[in-house]
């Protein structure tokens, strides 16, 4: 896990007991996590009574660095040893690492969920209903005799369900089924690394 210079400086001041004493540290750690997790950015996140007597500029810098570090750690799915080695390099004391790691552990899942919500996803197919039609003849041709399938896929995306309807010939349906089987097989193969 690499950290940029500004984050390193911010974390160093975070670790420095002369800048932030031991009553302030847990409050600031908590504030950093809370500010990342709260749904709307709260400008008063650093206005707690414990943080009143700290220099605001320093506080903002440390807070930004801590937020960045938390996000990077979550992105890398960092375990205890990684985090502690990272923070040890930045002069964190063992006690502070412990505090930080415990808070991180409690919020890790939620942070990972938030990070996972960045991206795109195709709708999930929940159900399928189908109907077989047999095309006997039309205006031009007397004997067509071709089956066609009416497929309706029940999909679910972000909680709302939606139907996808289409018709296909037998070959197309076979192709679709083959593709689906291939996909299932690929997933299974990927799980057996």
């Amino acid at each position: 896990m690499e950290l940029s210079e500004s984050v390193q400086i911010g974390l160093r001041s975070f670790a420095d007991p002369s800048c932030l004493d031991h009553t302030v540290f847990p409050a600031l750690v908590d504030a950093s996590f809370r500010s990342l997790l709260s749904a709307h950015g709260d400008p008063g996140v650093l206005d707690q009574p414990e943080l009143q007597h700290i220099d605001r500029v320093l506080l903002k810098q440390s807070h930004a660095a801590a937020a960045t570090f938390i996000l990077e750690a979550t992105k890398h799915n960092a375990d205890r040893s990684t985090i502690s080695s990272c923070l040890e390099e930045l002069n964190f004391s063992a006690e502070r690492i412990e505090i930080f790691y415990n808070t991180y552990q409690t919020h890790k899942k939620e942070l990972a969920r938030l990070l996972a919500s960045i991206g795109k996803r195709a709708p999930h197919v929940n159900d399928v209903s189908w109907r077989l039609q047999y095309h006997i003849k039309n205006g031009q041709v007397d004997k067509v005799n071709e089956p066609s399938y009416l497929i309706s896929l029940n999909t679910e995306n972000e909680g709302s369900s939606e139907d996808v309807n289409f018709t296909c010939t037998m070959e197309q349906l076979q192709d679709l089924v083959g593709k689906l089987k291939d996909a299932a097989k690929s997933v299974e193969k990927a799980s057996q690394m």
Binding site: E2, L3, S4, E5, S6, V7, I9, G10, S35, L36, S38, A39, H40, G41, D42, P43, V45, L46, D55, R56, V57, K60, Q61, H63, A64, A67, T68, L71, E72, K75, N77, S81, R113, L114, L115, A116, S117, I118, G119, K120, R121, H124, N126, E156, E158, G159, S161, V187, E188, A190, S191, Q192, M193
Partner: protein
């Protein structure tokens, strides 16, 4: 053999054979168990080969025979060199089965050993993690929306997704070293007004993206700078600050040049009307074409920034006049719209007027400068002509007294030449020491240069070394971490240490036995030597006595008798020795035979023969049944 059997059974259990707890040696293996063990081993060694083999013996005798044949063939294909056939599986004997199982167990792929041999990279660990996650998700059954537990909400009903949308964040810069001078207003802004980073964006969803993006941006910028500094900056022998400022001035110069070059054609067309944005774009295009790749970025962004800025200003000025009244009446709105349109129209007209005026002004100023230039030139010509006229006037004044004036002139010329020579000698005098000094200084300078270049190369090599060693250290650390995790993941096999202990014990036992064997060997050697000695002594004494007695035997009758006895004694002694030796060989043969009998007993020949007979009867029975069926059919 017990140890071997235990190891074999342990390995077979790991492969997936169901060996019950009571069985602790190969002797107790039944035919079914043997077949199962062998098939499992083959399936692990070669899945393609093993997939067609059944794991249990079928009830029918002929089918059993066929299974035995195919198994034997599979074993031979895998590389078992010993004798093998259906009888090995159906009518097993202990040593054969043991050697077969040992061969198969040795051929089993050792995953654990392989992974620890080749340290897997970070990506492999990551891929494994991904595979495990996919496996876990596959194992969770799908549930309809209403039945979902909080457990599977994470994977099955995800909430709304957001695209990765990064926005710039403002951070108060870090002041390095002693307090730099900062505007008080700026400081106040940073302290009191600038919100914390997490509250800067109106959309919280893009906060994470923005933070990550900012961090990555900083990292990559630092990396790029590092690369550039190492490749070019170090060579320029400047401090980083100087290097940066120099690069900045170079860039600015380049920008200026390019702008100037592009302005010449642009200014010609500028008289017709105002310069539009497309001109600017063309300008930029010419720029990009000629500029170096690393310069494009900075310039491009600079331009786009300024462009954006002006656009934004315009749009702001357009949108500002809209009154923010809360009345919702339509006529007011209409009126406002009308007013707005009129204002906009007026504004546009004014703009175009302004543009026209500026163009005219430019035109006029250009003509003005041209006129000024012409004026200056003509003034210059006038002054030149005046000078010429004055010289001519003087010469005309001197003409009447020509000879006198010539002499005066010559005197003047001579004096000036003398002065010149004088000055030259003086100059020489001054010049020599300065030149010397200059040369020495130059030499010193070149020396310095050499030294500094040497130092530079040293520094570069040091840099390289540092980078290499840090990389190595990081790699090793990673490997260590990985190995530690692997060690933790490994099944804590207690039997492992027990095995090694036993192996050590066995080795020490073997050592002891070897010592004993060597002792016995040396003993036998000594004995042999003694025997040889004794036989030699015997032969010699016999020869000597024989000779002595033979000599005397011609003279004396009694001596002759004793000679005969001697010969008889010698012969019977020889016979005795021979018989002893023969008994020895016979004893050895007996022992060999006993061993053979034992092994034959181990082969369970009698019971196997009985079983073969039974099976034969079975097959005959089956055959007759089949024949009867055929006949019926």
């Amino acid at each position: 053999m017990e140890e071997v059997d235990k190891i074999l059974i342990h390995a077979l259990k790991q492969v997936g054979t169901e060996v019950s707890e009571e069985i602790d040696s190969v002797r107790q293996f039944s035919s079914e168990l043997i077949v199962q063990a062998v098939v499992r081993c083959i399936q692990v060694i070669d899945p393609g080969l093993g997939s067609s083999l059944p794991t249990s013996l079928p009830p029918g005798m002929s089918a059993r025979f066929r299974v035995g044949m195919s198994l034997a063939q599979a074993c031979q294909e895998i590389g078992y060199k010993g004798e093998i056939g259906y009888q090995t599986f159906l009518y097993s004997n202990e040593p054969e089965i043991r050697s077969l199982l040992m061969c198969l167990v040795e051929k089993l792929p050792r995953e654990g050993a392989e992974t620890s041999d080749q340290p897997t990279g970070k990506s492999v660990v990551l891929q494994r993690g991904i595979a495990a996650a996919i496996k876990a998700q596959l194992a969770v059954p799908w549930l309809p929306t209403h039945c979902r537990l909080p457990l599977n909400i994470e994977t099955q009903s995800p909430e709304a997704l957001h695209s990765f949308h990064a926005q710039p964040l403002r951070l108060s810069p870090f002041t390095k070293g002693p307090e730099k001078k900062q505007l008080k207003v700026k400081k106040n802004y940073q302290r009191d007004i600038l919100p914390p980073v997490t509250a800067q964006l109106s959309f919280h969803t893009s906060l994470m993206a923005s933070l990550l993006e900012k961090h990555t941006d900083e990292l990559s910028a630092a990396q790029e700078w590092d690369n550039e500094w190492n490749s070019q900056g170090l060579l320029s022998r400047l401090t980083p600050k100087e290097y940066r400022s120099r690069k900045l001035t170079r860039l600015r110069k380049r920008v200026k040049e390019q702008l100037r070059a592009a302005e010449v054609p642009a200014s010609e067309s500028a008289f017709g009307g105002s310069r539009s944005n497309t001109d600017l774009f063309e300008l930029l295009q010419t720029f990009k074409g000629s500029a170096l790749s690393d310069l494009i970025l900075t310039k491009g962004t600079h331009f786009t920034h300024t462009k954006k800025f002006t656009f934004e200003q315009e749009s702001a000025s357009v949108t500002n006049p809209i009154p923010s009244g809360h009345q919702s009446e339509s006529d007011i709105q209409d009126r406002q719209q009308m007013e707005l349109a009129a204002l906009q129209h007026q504004f546009q007209q004014l703009c175009s007027d302004g543009d026209q005026l500026t163009a005219d002004m430019k035109h006029i100023s250009v003509t003005n400068t041209q006129m000024l230039n012409e004026l200056k030139q003509s003034e210059l010509g006038i002054s030149e002509k005046e000078n010429k006229m004055q010289v001519k006037k003087k010469t005309i004044g001197l003409l009447p007294d020509a000879d006198d004036n010539l002499l005066k002139l010559q005197v003047l010329v001579e004096a000036s030449t003398k002065r010149l020579v004088n000055l030259a000698s003086q100059w020489e005098k001054h010049r020599a020491p300065h030149m010397d000094e200059y040369r020495t200084l130059k030499e010193i300078c070149s020396n310095h240069d050499l030294e500094s270049s040497r130092m530079m190369s040293e520094i570069r090599s040091l840099h390289d070394k540092i980078r290499i060693s840090t990389e190595e250290a990081r790699k090793k650390e990673e490997m260590y971490k990985q190995l530690v995790t692997e060690l933790e993941n490994l099944p804590q096999d207690v039997s492992r240490s027990a095995y090694t202990q036993r192996i050590l014990e066995i080795v020490s036992n073997i050592k002891k036995q070897k010592e004993e064997i060597t002792k016995i060997l040396s003993d036998t050697k000594e004995l042999q030597k003694e025997i040889n000695n004794l036989t030699g002594k015997l032969d010699r004494t016999f020869a000597v006595t024989d000779e002595l007695v033979f000599k005397d035997a011609k003279k004396d009758e009694s001596v002759r008798k004793s000679y005969k006895y001697l010969a008889a004694l010698h012969e019977s002694c020889n016979q005795l020795i021979q018989t002893i030796e023969e008994t020895g060989t016979i004893l050895r043969e007996i022992r060999d035979l006993e061993e053979q009998i034992e092994t034959e007993n181990g082969n369970k020949t009698v019971s196997n023969l009985e079983r073969i007979l039974d099976d034969y009867k079975c097959i005959r029975h089956e055959n007759s049944a089949l024949a009867a069926k055929v006949r019926e059919g």
